[in-house]
Symmetry: C2
Subunit: 254 residues, 2 copies
């Protein structure tokens, strides 16, 4: 197995970082990697906000629900779906400027931003750094837009603190690869198959611990729907996201 | 520079593949890499459809506007945002099954699917394969759902043909990395900055060739808005995408 496959297959999320700063040279290598991926029509529909300033981290912290990764990491990269730069290019060249104010164009920019984000992650891990993705970026998308001063047609989609790991955690327990794979067409999951695919996870020590902490739940699925990601929370955050997409100009066609 | 950084930074899209098949062993390495990335709450909200069957490729070809990559490649991987598997898990464990029928949850699944897709791409390139992303997957999203038999809560977001390259093309001309980078807050682009960032691209041989082929356009921006990705086309495809997101159950909260 080559070095790249090893880096990718040994990925773990790291949530504690040492005080050591990431050098400007290393940051540039990560940013170069982020900007080297595929992009829709070579339009490069993304931007990366680099956060190193402590005051900025403190401003963002409550929006990340004060998770320690967001203040403790020496570096935070926020990847944005960005049609503003390309629209400016169109504006200054007397080309149509409202061609990309719709959800299809937003999707292209989301894809470009996430290709860049994952490239940055693989690059960072190959350099001995650790990171973890913060889901809070899409929860509080409206407030991050304010703090990061993002103009119309720019939406943050990934926020990734990075640093040198205090320790390298064990690999996360995942479903077997076959759970995600479908040959030729999608094969839906009946109860027997769900039971088989989730068996190892459901019978693990980790799950036993989670269930002890959540005595009102009979199983892992209920921990997710009753506590971790509830219908009410998700729908409230969905409303914010939809309003933000409209405000940022991606529903001009509707 | 390590091997992984080299692989990522030397990425080029490959559109012509030799007849050589990709071995099952190599396919498994790519799929393992795809399934090793970060994922929202360890829910693994994605599926990968593996296409090798010639009849399936012929069915998909018109939906990819008959681009030769879609029929000529020995392997096509379609990455889907998938909340169906997790919802089934909830269903079979007497947990709430409508917690994730909203746009916030859809976004998590899109992120998971694209992390998997880009991991697969980096892995493939490290193994000497070539690939290119097909934007057509989000244009004809409704028809791909039919052909791939995707159930509710599954949406294809990336489609990537792969194979051994006939030749390794030259690196694509991109904007300088600094064009995408913002320190601490977003710095919007005025005309002078757009002029500077696009200068090399606008004055290249490639752009000169494109403008000769599009005599009704004064500049590269107009080639995009008048011909490549027009307002009318984008808005028509946006309508299909929105209707599909509703039909697949991601707007149950509205």
């Amino acid at each position: 197995m080559n070095e790249t496959l090893q880096t990718i297959q040994n990925h773990v999320s790291v949530r504690q970082y040492t005080d050591k700063k990431i050098s400007e040279e290393m940051l540039q290598q990560i940013l170069k990697a982020a900007c080297s991926g595929s992009t829709m029509g070579n339009m490069q529909l993304f931007s990366i906000i680099v956060t190193e300033d402590e005051a900025m981290k403190r401003k963002m912290a409550p929006l990340h629900f004060n998770q320690p990764m967001a203040t403790q990491a020496p570096l935070i990269l926020t990847f944005c779906a960005d049609f503003n730069r390309f629209n400016r290019f169109c504006e200054f060249r007397d080309a149509e400027t409202e061609a990309y104010s719709n959800m299809q164009s937003y999707h292209w920019a989301v894809i470009d931003a996430l290709i860049a984000a994952q490239n940055a992650c693989v690059a960072a891990e190959s350099l001995g750094l650790g990171f973890c993705w913060l889901g809070t970026i899409t929860y509080n998308v409206d407030k991050f837009i304010e703090v990061l001063q993002l103009p119309k047609h720019v939406i943050p989609v990934a926020c990734i603190p990075m640093g040198y790991p205090v320790e390298k955690p064990a690999l996360t327990q995942k479903l077997p690869v076959e759970a995600m794979i479908h040959r030729e067409t999608y094969h839906d999951y009946d109860q027997a198959r769900i039971d088989a695919l989730y068996a190892e996870k459901e019978h693990s020590e980790e799950t036993a611990g989670i269930l002890r902490e959540n005595p009102d739940c009979e199983n892992l699925a209920q921990v997710f729907t009753k506590h971790r990601y509830t219908k009410n929370d998700n729908e409230a955050f969905a409303k914010v996201l939809m309003e933000t997409l409209k405000k940022q100009g991606f529903f001009a066609d509707l």
